[in-house]
Every structure is written in C-alpha cells, then in structure tokens.
Symmetry: D2
Subunit: 339 residues, 4 copies
Amino acid sequence: MITVLKRNATEEQRNNLIKWLEDQGVSVHVSVGESVTILGLVGDTSNIDMDMLKLLDIVDDVKRISESYKKSNRKFHPEDTIIEVPSKASSDGVTKIGGGHFSVIAGPCSVESEEQIVEVAKRVKAAGASMLRGGAFKPRTSPYAFQGMRAEGLELLSIAKKETGLPIVSEIMNENHLELFEDVDIIQVGARNMQNFELLKALGHVDKPILLKRGLANTLEELLMSAEYIMAGGNENVILCERGIRTFEHRTRNTLDLSAIPALHEMTHLPVIVDPSHSTGRADYVKPMAMAAVACGADGLMIEVHNNPACALCDGAQSLTPDQFDDVMDKVGKMRDIL
Amino acid sequence: MITVLKRNATEEQRNNLIKWLEDQGVSVHVSVGESVTILGLVGDTSNIDMDMLKLLDIVDDVKRISESYKKSNRKFHPEDTIIEVPSKASSDGVTKIGGGHFSVIAGPCSVESEEQIVEVAKRVKAAGASMLRGGAFKPRTSPYAFQGMRAEGLELLSIAKKETGLPIVSEIMNENHLELFEDVDIIQVGARNMQNFELLKALGHVDKPILLKRGLANTLEELLMSAEYIMAGGNENVILCERGIRTFEHRTRNTLDLSAIPALHEMTHLPVIVDPSHSTGRADYVKPMAMAAVACGADGLMIEVHNNPACALCDGAQSLTPDQFDDVMDKVGKMRDIL
Amino acid sequence: MITVLKRNATEEQRNNLIKWLEDQGVSVHVSVGESVTILGLVGDTSNIDMDMLKLLDIVDDVKRISESYKKSNRKFHPEDTIIEVPSKASSDGVTKIGGGHFSVIAGPCSVESEEQIVEVAKRVKAAGASMLRGGAFKPRTSPYAFQGMRAEGLELLSIAKKETGLPIVSEIMNENHLELFEDVDIIQVGARNMQNFELLKALGHVDKPILLKRGLANTLEELLMSAEYIMAGGNENVILCERGIRTFEHRTRNTLDLSAIPALHEMTHLPVIVDPSHSTGRADYVKPMAMAAVACGADGLMIEVHNNPACALCDGAQSLTPDQFDDVMDKVGKMRDIL
Amino acid sequence: MITVLKRNATEEQRNNLIKWLEDQGVSVHVSVGESVTILGLVGDTSNIDMDMLKLLDIVDDVKRISESYKKSNRKFHPEDTIIEVPSKASSDGVTKIGGGHFSVIAGPCSVESEEQIVEVAKRVKAAGASMLRGGAFKPRTSPYAFQGMRAEGLELLSIAKKETGLPIVSEIMNENHLELFEDVDIIQVGARNMQNFELLKALGHVDKPILLKRGLANTLEELLMSAEYIMAGGNENVILCERGIRTFEHRTRNTLDLSAIPALHEMTHLPVIVDPSHSTGRADYVKPMAMAAVACGADGLMIEVHNNPACALCDGAQSLTPDQFDDVMDKVGKMRDIL
C-alpha cells in the first residue's frame, strides 16, 4: 500500500503517522521528493483502512498495490483449476471444465414441460453439449412476468437428466431453496445476484460446483471478490461466466466483454465460460459471438436452445433452434481443432 | 404496442399475424405506408411477448408504448404518496416523507457500540434529523472485510431509539432475518439487492415502509419495477433512494444522478430521497450535493454521520462529523425555506 | 510515480532498472517488502513512459501519483481565476465569472432570424442574464439535419449584441472560421470537440475567453488536460462547462454529473458552469437542475431560451420560453442570496 | 414515425394536430385505444421535428421507426461494399477489404525514424499484412506528450511504401493538412474526431478510402451517421473500425465491443475491421482478441507492431514485436481457412 503525503505535512505529523502505521504491524519505507513524500507500507496491510487514511489532513492519496482476492488469485495458485462434474453421458463418467477441457452447457431459458426439456436435452446431447441448462426459478424485472416453474421445473430437469445422462445446471435465487437443488449438478448464481453476499456465503458450504455470472455493472475484480465469498466458505469449485455488461450501446441487450477472457485467465486460475445468448439478446448474433469466445480462449459456452423459439415463455428472441445449435457446435468443433 | 412489419411481408402473412394478435385479445390498427406497415396494438398487451414478435420473419421492430409499472405509476395515481412513520421524537407522534414533507435520515454507516450509536443519535436529533440510520448487516465487496454487528447491531439501534425517540432505519440482506427487524421502523434494501426479487417479494408482505435504493447500474424504470415487486405483494409504502450510478468517471465513487429526482417525480407518486454520502464517497462533497438534492426537489436525505470518522470501521471517508452535519442541516433548512 | 516490481525480479535486474531510471533524471527510493518491492520515483517524471515501464518483465504495475495537469491545477494556483468579459450591458463595463461572481448565459440553441435573436436577447437581459448565447455553427449527428446559419448567424448575434449590450457566446467547429468570430466575446468548444486537439491549440493563441464543454464520455481529468492545451498556448481564460455524460440511463438525454462541480472546484482554479438544457434534453427538468447547480456551487449557468420553443429548428424540446426563464432567474436569485 | 397522444387530448386538439401533420406532407393513420391513441405517420417524415412534437401538450411520446442512415444502410444497398486500394505489394495491383476480402493493416503507433518504419514495414509485409499503418499526427490527451513527427512522419511513411509496395494508412486531425496526405492510401479518422463534422465533410470530397474509427462513447448508429457525413459528400469508400468503448471496467483500456461486428454487418454494407491493440491497451491481449475478431466475421484487423516495443515513444505497452505479429498472422490464417 502506498500513502502519498501532502506537501504541507510537517515532519512531526509525518512521524506520528509512521509510528501509528508501524503499530498496526506494517513496515514503512519513506521516499521524500521535492513535491511529494511517499510512504510505502509493506507487510500485512489488510488491517489498514484505506478510506480512513485518506481522511487524514496530511494525506493526499492512498493506493493499494496488491490484489484483494486471494484464493482465486493465479499468483498464489498458478495452475488452472479443473472442475469435474459426474456425468453418465460421458464415457469416463465425468465432464471437466478448465485447464484445456472445453464444455458446452445448453438448454432452454425456462423449463416449460417434460416434453420440451427432454426433447431439447436429447438434441443438445446429440449435438455435443456436455451439460443441460434450464431455468426453474427465473429472475424477471417485472413481477407480472412469468417467474418460472420453480420446484416443478427442477423435477422436470431431473427427468431429462435421467433420460440423457447429462448433468444439469440451474439458477438459484434464494438459499432457502437449496434442498430442492439436490439433484442439480452445477448451481448457477445469476448476474443480479452476483453481490447477494448472503447467498454466496451459503453456497460456500455446498458440495457442488457454482457457476457465477458476472453482474451487469461489475468489474472483473468484483467478480473475483464474489468468487472469494464462495471459496472462503470452503467451496473452491467456482466457474466464472462472462455474460455482457451494461453500457450506453443499445443495439445489443448488453455489451459482451470478451477481453474479460484473457484478462480473467491472467488474474485467476478458475475456469471462465461465456454466455453469448443473454449478452447479445439476439439469436442471430449467438453463433458469431460463440465462435469469438472460443477463439479468445473461453473454457466453455452456455447457450440457450429451445425446440420452438417463437413460443418460448421468456427470452425467445435469443434462443437457437436445435438445428441452429447443431451448426454452432459444428463450427465450434472445427475451431477447437486448430487452437 | 407498435409492431413494424418488414417491406417484404406479403398480405397473407400480414393477415395471419393480425388474426393471431386479435386472438390474444388485442385490437389491431393497420397503417400502410410506402416503405413500412405499422400495426398498432391496442388493449391489454401484457400477454404479448415482444421478444417473440421480434423473432418473426416479417417483423422489423416492436416498441412498447405504455409503461410496465402500474402501482407506482403516477398516471394511475396522480397524488403524491405520503409515508408515515411512528415517531416518539415528533410532537404529533409521526414523521412523514413525501407530498411536501421533508425528512432527513442520519447516522453511522455501521453500528459499532452502544456508546457510539446513542451519541450519534442524540447529535443528529439535535441537528434536526427525523430518523436514525445504522448498518447492522453490511454488504461488503470483500468476504474478508467487516460484515457488521448483525443481530447485536439491531439491538443497539433499539437502545438508541429508546433514548431519543427517533425511528430507526436499517438494511436487510436476507428475508430469513426479518424477525430480527421487528423494532426497525423502515427496512432498507441496498443497491446490490435492488433486483434480489425473492427478498423484494418477502418485503411485499411486511407491514413497514421499505426504503429501496437504486442499483448501481439500474435504470429508473427498473427501480420502479422493483418497487412494483414490493407493492404487488400488498405493501405500498415504498421510498425510493437515488445513491449514485456507476459510470466511467472515477473522481467520485459513483455518479450521483440528480436528474433522477424530477424524472422520478414525473414517473411515480412515491417519495424520492437522496444519499449524497455513498454516491460521492467523500465527506467534503456531501454538503454541496445535499444542498443540490434539496434544490431539485428531493423529499429527504440520507446522510452518514459518525462521531469519529477517522476511526469508522467502514466507509469512514464519506461520513460527516456531527459538527459538519449541524452545518449541513442549517444550510438545508435555509434552502427549504425559500423553496 | 510508483513502480511495483514482480516477486521474481532478481537483484541484478532491479539494479539495472534503478540505474536506468536515475539516468532519466529521477531519484529512486526502494522499499523492499516480503511480497513486493516498490520503487518510488521522485523528481520530474514527465519523461518516464509509464506504458513502457509496465512492459518490462520484472514490473508488475506502475502508478502515477501527481496529476498531469499543471496550469489548471489548483495546487499550483490556489486562488480562483476570475474571467472578465467586456459588457456594455453592465454598469461597470465588464461581466465576471468565477471567484464568487455568478453569471448566466442564455439564448436559443440556434440563431434563426434577426427578429428571433434580438427578441430573445432583450428578454433574457431583462430577466437578468449577463450574456447571450446562440448557435451559428451547429454540430448535428445527421448530415441531413439543419447545420446552423453559420456566418450569417454570427452577424445576427452581433446585431443583438448592439441592441442589448450583452456580450455574445457562440460555438466554433473549425479554426478556419476564427476570423468570423471577431465580434464574439466568448468562444465555445462543444462536447464533441473537447478532444479536437488541433482546434484547442489554435484557441490557445486567441485573446478571448474559451468556454470548454466536457465531452460526453470524458473524465474530469481529461477535461482539465484539454483546458491545458488551450492554456499551454498562452490563453489562460478558460471556463469549464458540465453538460451531462453518457450513461446507460435514457430517461434524460445525458446524465448531468453535478458532483463534478465540487470536484472541479477542488482540482482547478478555473470557473465551472452548468448547462442544464443539453444535459437533460427536457425543458421541464431545466429549472430543478439549474437550482441544483447553483446550490452545489456552480459559477454560472448556460440555459437555452427560445421565444417560440415549439418551432425551434433544433433542440426545441429542451428550450425554455422567456416566461419560464423569468421564473428560473427569480428562483436562482433567491437561492444565490442565501448561499 | 409514431406519435402517442395523452389520454386527456380532446378530439379537437387531435384533429388540429392531424391536420398540421398532413400539411407537412405525411399521411396519418389513427389508432384509438382504451388508454392511448396512436398516430402513425407515413411517408417522408424527415421534415417533422420529433423534439418539437414531444413538446406539445397533448403528446406523450414520439418514436422514430426507420433508421436515419441512408447511404450506409444495408436495406437500400444489400450487397457488401468492397473497397479497393492500389497496391504494388499485391500480385494483381490491388488490395481489397470487405465482401469476403480480408485485410490486415499493421505498423507502429507512431512513425519515429526511417530505419524504424522501413524495418517494421518489411516485417509486417513478410508476415502477410497487406497495408502499413503509422501515426504522423498524434492525438494525445496531454499537450505535454509527444505529438508525432507530423509532415516528416508522412514522408517517412512514403519511403516505407516505396521500399515495400505496401499501401499506407495514417490519421488526419485537421482538413488543413489534407495536401500532406497525397501519397497516403487510406486516411484514418481517429476515435476522438468521429464527430468532428467539419473534418468529415471535407473528407467527403476526397478521392481516397476513409478509415473511420468508432468514438469512445458513440453508438453504432452514430458511427453510421458519421459515415453518412462522408458519403453524403460523394465519397462512398468508408471502412468502419471498432476499437473499444469506454465503460466502468478498467482492467483493459477500453472494452472491445465485438458484438458490433455482426451488428454492423446487419446494419450496413460497409466493411468493418477491428483494432485489438488500442482497445485492450495490452500487447498480451492482442492475439486472443485478434482471433476473436476474425472468428466473429471482421473484414480485417488493424494491429500495432513495433520493432522495439519497450522504446516506443507512445503506446508501447500495446504494440507487438514483429515476432509476436508473425505468430498472430499464422493463427489468423489458420482460422480464416476454416471459416
């Protein structure tokens, strides 16, 4: 941590501050310049309150040097984390994400009926997806919109899992629902709940991988701090998901931030996947953005597929048909071959 | 709702679409132009899925005309809502916000000790605040940061309430904690939980006013949709709070959007208050921004006051001292007089 | 400037870097910590390329400590700059902005006719405005939209100046037009040209105050760097203008960033005014935002007034009628009295 | 254009408005609903001022249906525009961009010396680049930073063109410099000048392709409106360039908006290229983002290459070495093969 003193700080004030800082257990290195004096704080600075320091009359600025995320930080864990999910659809009984293992999660935005989810599951499996997604609890902006089939939706997902062997992924909105998620293989935290810290804490004690979506207006560092909430509780199996951020541009629903892929791979050892469906909000942009995500190193994709997009109860305009999904998987496969 | 058809739509396609729309219970008015044909959908269009319509081959664009917020909409409820909070500190036993009633909520970011909260309560009451705020459950970006005194903090707030008569305001992060909030007069929903819909639904069944803060990246319409979640459950006592949005500018923590005040007053009948402390993140900007908020019509203010800002466990840099708060209240009072 | 070295930097690498830095004329203070080594660069670091330093294998991060704006920086020029504009409408022959002198610039978005501009000039003068604005060269998003009366518009402004004595303010889009601006008292640089550096350089050699509007997506520091371009050329009479930034919120045309007022007053000695008309894009929000701007310390206002808003050739929806402007000036005057 | 009337509009007011609109030459189709009346304006609505309409007491909202860009609009020009640049380095004497022709423009941020630019030119040509870029006039945020070699830089580019046959691309900042650009093959307009309309108008009369970079905070529609300024003057050879937008995320310099590629391909027939160097600001992210751009359909790339990045006078941290560029071109080539 760096503390920059104002020009008018007296020597006595400076010495008092240094003494106080040393009492907090950090060592202080002083650099006196013509126009500025800098204190370099070295050691464990986690007890030093930056905001409080900034308040002091003689302090001009305080800057943190080292990252505040620890367990997810690649500096302290250089190897890629590989997350394993038991899968009856896989020859070796397991599906892997991260560390070179690529995985596609596909399925409808909302579970609507047994027939729908089972049919979609079969189609996406045939196309090469390794997991099935389906929303049972749906976070909707409007209280008057369809809120998902809830518990019943999770039961239908289990049926589709039995029929196809595909592990299932579904979003949780409340830790009180955790017992309903027993058969769910990966629990998803949606963008709007990325900083629902009570939920994150609860998921830190769960023995399942968590798929954590980046919030609409959250930085990559905040995404890692939220992963840190889960990991600090003991659950280190976190998959990060870039799904678009909110900007001034309104041609697409959100702005897919693909630079986040190389950036996150540099910052953290956790796997990173991309959701081209929610980010663009348009079925015709899903294929190009899926391919771009693969090209820049994503560890997986999350794609909405619906057997009848024009009738989907929500988010229809961004879902692919199974035929369109076949085409995406074909192109993605070819691209993976050359990478 | 307006549906714009593509130039190449055949008459048969058009008639099929019109028939389908009429089957959904809306009447359709057709405007045929040289380069475009427009369908005006009139009646109850809430069952029409805009996204699905956009997907159709012959549809170029779909635009919604009327707002999706109903209970909070000023069009259907032209008079200002006035929210009443029982108060032993008030001569008539009640504090009011909205409809010309101005109210200041002040107190520390976090409750730290009985001595602290009681002293601050006395000081802000003396300065003219009508309610006491204090954080017991704290949403912090980092799991390693101080998380608040939780249940104990709420008990200390109750003590301060007894000592001063001031109604108390505190943030809830989880509906499971609701029973701990029995003595709290206004329950606050923080910016990060503005779209925690499960929490909002639970608060719709509570018999206390809810102070709903705007999310960092949420539009005013989304803020009203979240108010709508609470109101749809039966609790129509919602106070809206502008507290800064996330932009590219980093001189201030967030960008306080004061245009939101006249805009919200136009859109809704609910009272709107402003938090100049969290939005700017700097004690020295609180006074000018508080005055600006009053000048443009805010129904109240929420201000952080701490008896020893330099030692606050969190957010110290943005808290005022009681003396600084006295000065703000003095200037705010003078400004209220001329408005 | 602070340079943070990577953990794996050898002593030899470190010494080589320090030697190189010292060769550039700065002194280097070294702080060795357990997990990080910090080099504090003190002296004139303007020749050190931060980006290049960051590129070095052993460097983890580089942070600048001192601001890059010099002439506009309040640290080196603590007193407020007061800008004087000759004015025949003023009893002492001069209008002042800054350092406690408050000034309102009002007039139509575009000059349309002699009758229009003279009538508006008379009305805004009567209401208390101290300068007249009017667009002659108009930057329009569309090449098919009205581009202003150009040279003829400037001539009409001169006529209005003769009739009322009010100094005139008009926007320049190209330094080749400078000779047409001889009778203009303050030359305005619009938001879209805030980083048109060739234009700024040319205005550095002009002997008139420059009104520099903040760009739609520019930080306050960038605004000061653009002022710096003008001041570096010798023209130190720069007035800054906050006119809204681009965010995700679309209820208002832009988001008026009023925190910029106290922030700029802290960063710079230059006067700061606010344009509530362009920022909100709506006549009915102009009054509340004008009052808010005054309340938080703006040195002046720039307000659009049109004698027949419903027929304005551009930006009509945001213009006030002269009667509405009378009302704003009345309220602003009362507020100035208590400040 | 759609005009939505307020509920309280009387029949007389409505008829007056309709008559006035018809006088402007548009036909009006009326849809009367329970809660809203809609006027559909059909025909040439370019003379109708939306802002003025919105101002009327009885009008609730006005929405434009058809796009305001014409010459760049794919609807009126379905085939891809292919831009041809004479090239002595190409076997058929010409380099093409657009309509399936892929082109890489590479070179240093700034021209620094004959030796540098000639060496880089040879290396990027050998790697497969089809054009050479080099900055002579440099837009820098600070007036104290290196501003480019200006006219001399253009002369050095010409030497490199003679040596290698590669067409050259360089940025213009002022139409007064146009005669210096005679030997330049493609004139670049930088992000900060995207809405420097006087410059755009001047380039509309130039007989060379224009490379138009998207502004930091400009929408895709605004980008097309700026292209429209050039095209309206007669120069229809415009290449669009996505180079990152400004958001709250600061891990990368800007946020590269790759969804802009499929979006622009849908909106316009003009070629679209991507600059992964400026957008990310980091050499190590250039390769993944270049590959992603190719994967989602970019018609070309613009990449910074410097023979000694650690010594570049500006933007060093984002430049590739020639060896790194070889690697990027190799991977891009393989990816192009499978697309």
